[in-house]
């Protein structure tokens, strides 16, 4: 459980009473903070470098919501011919866009098996590996 103390940022000017004197402590947990619709939210690991332009690196943890309505240019997880991929969706031109300079966009063709699985609502950098097991 993460303990969260909401103290507004200060410019360091002295002479005022410390706002921390009356701070309230509230308990937050990351699930509540990051996940709006638990029964429609899934986790996934990113694998590959094609989304670095969106700040998603290989090994990052993705929080994927099936609840969100998919908007144009959203970062989504999709099933493309039996493989889960993470791309930006271009709804008007039916394309999957990468966020790396060397990757060409992918045109979704008629014979493709394609469904959008959910919207990537957060990505979490694991600066140290996860050690907990559930």
């Amino acid at each position: 459980m993460l303990r969260f103390i909401p103290i507004p940022a200060q410019a360091g000017i002295s002479g005022f009473e410390s706002p921390a004197a009356e701070y309230t402590q509230s308990a937050l947990n990351l699930d509540e903070l990051l996940i709006d619709h638990p029964s429609a939210t899934y986790l996934g690991y990113a694998e590959g470098e094609s989304m670095v332009g969106e700040g998603i690196f290989s090994g990052d943890l993705l929080v994927i919501s099936r609840f969100e309505k998919v908007k144009d240019q959203d970062v989504v997880v999709a099933n493309l011919n039996g493989v889960f991929v993470c791309k930006k969706i271009d709804k008007r031109r039916a394309m999957l866009l990468s966020a790396a300079p060397d990757r060409a966009p992918y045109h979704i063709r008629e014979g493709d098996d394609f469904q959008i699985e959910g919207v990537v609502i957060r990505s979490i950098r694991l600066h140290r590996p996860l050690v907990k097991s559930i």
């Binding site: 029964s39 690991y45 590959g48 493989v83 559930i134």
Partner: protein, 419 residues
């Protein structure tokens, strides 16, 4: 009005959620220990493979020829997906009752959805598909039995495509005329035969039978079914569910057991599962039934042995029940028998609240320890803390050769997504 939502081929559908490479393939799921088929997706059914409860080894080649994907039962995954399905469905009705892992009843009291019942059913189905990726059928009707009938129609009768509503006479007649008697909730095949002997051949005829006459020939339960088919509510799940009269934990082993130590460990594990259930319903057990058997199909003949152990004082303590098991092993075990199945049953149950202490035989229960054990396991998962008597390495664990990852409940099994 009532609605019944249930998942199509729940287990097979769960397997497809996190493995898009098998979504267009025939998927067949096996029972405990990979013994029999317990679920098949619609593609497998269309190919004529995956009939329920057929032993896997009998149809292995047929399945291979059909290109079927075989999976062991992944209960961890199904339980999590079930929870998500129930959460999603529950948004749509003021009151709900989870009936099984893949079925939930809705009760709308007087409320009527502004968009109409059919559109409401479609909205539930759509929400579960987009949010959980589980295909479900929705049946809506004025009684639980008619909701169940509508649910049958939603999935099986042509033209309904997943949603059926019984809110008028035409719909009620059409659906009841297009079902078999055994499709009616509570009508098994033996009951159906007896009904047919009295010239009641279809659910529609049953609905039009005289309830009093049915009661005389059958039972109050069948009479209630007739009323329900007519639109009069007779079933209720608001009555407090009675505590279970007996609690069993039993299972067959992945591999045969041949040593008393391992048999003892397996029994102690069953003791701990049953005792935890006992504490959850706040009961005490007077007697434990402890048993082990070989397989009836084993060449060397069937062996089974039961021990009933009466406790000096009714108990709900895992250690007390486990001790009884350790003693029983000596009586049950016989060298050379390949043990296939064992279990512990707790019977002669009484309510803990009504228990009278005996001055001369004090209870050996340690409620503080049990409370602590249950609290740890509730918080950190089953078997986080357990008796050493269960064995550290559980050699008798289930055989699950074709197990898929636990995508939603285990960190190492979280799906990989290509970037």
């Amino acid at each position: 009005m009532y609605a019944l939502c249930d998942a199509n081929s729940m287990y097979a559908s769960c397997e497809k959620i996190f493995d898009p490479s098998i979504r267009n393939k025939p998927v067949v799921v096996l029972t405990n220990n990979d013994g029999c088929i317990c679920a098949a997706c619609h593609i497998a059914k269309r190919l004529g493979v995956g009939k329920k409860f057929i032993p896997y080894f009998q149809v292995r080649e047929d399945l291979e020829r059909a290109g079927a994907v075989i999976r062991s039962s992944n209960y961890e995954l199904y339980a999590d997906i079930s929870q998500r399905m129930m959460d999603t469905c529950s948004r749509f009705a003021p009151r709900c009752h989870v009936y099984s892992i893949d079925e939930i009843f809705h009760f709308y009291e007087g409320w009527v959805p502004p968009e109409g019942w059919f559109e409401h059913g479609r909205a539930i189905r759509r929400a579960v598909w987009t949010e959980v990726r589980l295909p479900i059928g929705v049946g809506i009707g004025p009684t639980p039995t008619l909701a169940k009938a509508a649910n049958h129609a939603a999935k099986r009768i042509e033209g309904y495509r997943g949603v059926a509503v019984i809110d008028n006479e035409t719909a009620r007649r059409h659906i009841l005329q297009n079902m078999a008697l055994t499709d009616v909730w509570g009508i098994g095949s033996r009951l159906a035969k007896r009904l047919q002997a009295l010239n009641i051949d279809s659910p529609w005829q049953l609905a039009n039978a005289n309830p009093g006459w049915i009661r005389k020939h059958f039972s109050v339960l069948v009479e209630s079914t007739v009323y329900e088919l007519q639109g009069v509510v007779k079933l209720s799940w608001d009555d407090v569910r009675a505590s279970k009269k007996e609690i069993y934990s039993t299972r067959s082993f992945g591999q045969r057991i041949r040593t008393p130590d391992v048999l003892g460990q397996a029994l102690v594990q069953h003791a701990s599962i049953a005792a935890a259930k006992l504490r959850r319903q706040q009961s005490l057990a007077g007697v434990a039934v402890i048993f082990a058997t070989s397989s009836p199909h084993d060449a060397q003949g069937y062996y089974r042995k039961y021990i009933t152990h009466r406790f000096a004082v009714p108990t709900q303590d895992t250690t007390v029940i486990a001790n009884a098991c350790r003693q029983a092993v000596q009586a049950i075990y016989r060298p050379g028998v390949p043990f296939y199945r064992c279990g512990v049953g707790l019977i002669d149950l009484s309510e803990k609240a009504a228990f009278q202490q005996d001055l001369f035989t004090p209870s050996a229960d340690n409620p503080g320890l049990m409370q602590c054990l249950d609290a740890i396991n509730a918080r950190y998962g089953r078997n986080t803390a357990y008796l050493a008597g269960q064995g550290i390495q559980q050699k008798f664990a289930m055989r699950r050769e074709f197990l898929s990852p636990q995508y939603t409940t285990r960190l190492s099994d979280i799906p990989r997504i290509q970037c």
